[in-house]
Point group: C2
């Protein structure tokens, strides 16, 4: 049982952790920290958190579990704010979308990554943001990746693992660099594509109202383009090492597809579409497992 759970960033993820922790009776008290006063007020009013602070150090004081759930660009500031009161008896973890950047940030601030800090990332989300988008069952059946270092305390890892499992998630461990490589492909690249396409077509729409004739396929394809711009700015910059080569590889894939279309290479184009459909079925089969 956690006594005092401190959540830094009470948005979609942080708010959902709070709601689930409360519903599953995983802690006695939930302290929320948020730089956005309106968001913090809503979290308090709706009973998502018990106490609210704008100050990171005040919020984290006396917590035995601290979860950092902000966009990854804020970690330097947050680690610096935590440094003075770093709770060596507590467990600190995070829900940041990239893992190497978070670990590098901890190294910058602390010299080395504290052994009670467990880097983590729940593979769950939505295109909506803020505490208003949080739900009690966001992590139910979802995957969470922890990327502990060799120096990370095994008991701290165990406590974070149990926390996520208690909220219904399946917990995996992998190397931070591997996490960033996999997520760049399955999440970061699709987001960049969705943002770029929606932006390009938005400009066309201003000229000739094409959106009027877009339908359900377009709605689903572009759903992730409604995601929080700040969060995605941070991810793109934090994981650019993995994302950039994938963008260029995808540009090459498109060049190949365009060339097949131009040449009317029926068999190869058909094979490409069949392979894509097969690959997606493999993905769906895994998703349901």
């Amino acid at each position: 049982m956690i006594n005092r759970l401190c959540i830094i960033g009470v948005g979609l993820i942080g708010g959902s952790v709070a709601r689930a922790a409360r519903a599953k009776e995983l802690c006695h008290e939930i302290v929320g920290v948020d730089a956005d006063a309106d968001n913090l007020r809503s979290a308090l009013e709706w009973g998502v958190i018990d106490v609210g602070f704008s100050d990171v150090a005040k919020g984290a004081a006396n917590a035995d579990m601290v979860m950092i759930a902000t966009p990854v660009g804020s970690f330097d500031v947050i680690f610096n704010a935590l440094k003075a009161i770093w709770p060596t008896e507590a467990v600190v973890t995070d829900a940041g979308s990239t893992k190497c950047s978070v670990i590098e940030s901890a190294k910058r601030v602390f010299g080395e990554v504290p052994d009670n800090f467990v880097p983590g990332h729940p593979i769950a989300g939505a295109e909506k943001s803020g505490v208003g988008a949080s739900t009690v069952d966001l992590f139910q059946g979802k995957r969470v990746i922890l990327t502990p270092l060799e120096t990370t305390s095994p008991s701290a890892v165990k406590r974070v693992e149990r926390l996520w499992q208690s909220m219904g998630a399946k917990v995996y461990q992998m190397e931070p660099a591997h996490h960033d490589e996999v997520l760049a492909a399955t999440s970061h690249l699709p987001h960049v594509l969705a943002f770029a396409l929606t932006n390009m077509l938005g400009k066309k729409d201003e000229q000739q109202e094409i959106f009027q004739f877009a339908a359900g396929g377009f709605r689903d394809f572009t759903r992730i383009a409604s995601s929080d711009p700040k969060m995605w700015l941070d991810i793109c910059l934090a994981n650019r090492r993995e994302i950039l080569p994938l963008i260029h590889q995808f540009r090459e894939e498109l060049a190949v597809a365009a060339s097949l279309i131009e040449k009317g290479a029926t068999d190869q184009l058909f094979a490409l579409f069949v392979d894509a459909r097969g690959a997606r079925q493999r993905f769906l089969d895994q998703l349901e497992k």
Copy 2:
């Protein structure tokens, strides 16, 4: 009231036209034509159609409304099969995804487009195909675009318009070339991107199981990559004039995004994401109208 409705291609679209026409009592009899014997048998067994033929000319004989709902690559063959028995008293229309190619096909076969042929396209679909995927309400609240020519009989247009309206759709008219331009942007390009991405990541997944850590965002982004490969092969070839420049334009958009990420151009990247989110909201607002 239609006496004998002939649907050529009893798949997702054709089957849904049959189901809706029956439910709304728009016709006395529904004749289905399909080259796929299994699909035709299912359509008969499930009562989606009353009579089934594999032969286009036999199926269309004595029909007063003929709807061609096959992939657009089949139109030459179908028009040729209809030529001998071309029903001048009937109205012939289609549900093909591209309109210039269908009109060019009619010109190739008939010399000029028959005045009782009304080119059309319902903006409705799903990633599933075949009569098993058809539903009675697929067109409810959806948009249908008709692209009649100057020589098209206004009364034929009127009858097709009424047919779609009776199935719950909103009917618009536009130039065939404009249809193809708009749909290339809102539908064809996203499909090419989804196929290309799923194909590329499918190859990566074979090497290191990345799909295991893909989630809801990826599921929705790639949904259209499960679409019928034959239908999309035909669309890509039929509308390559419009699709190819868009693929290349999108590759340039990606190059710009990559360059912003590489340079760490925070403000511009943030503005791109904000603009994209705003554009998608504009689209959503229209979709709900």
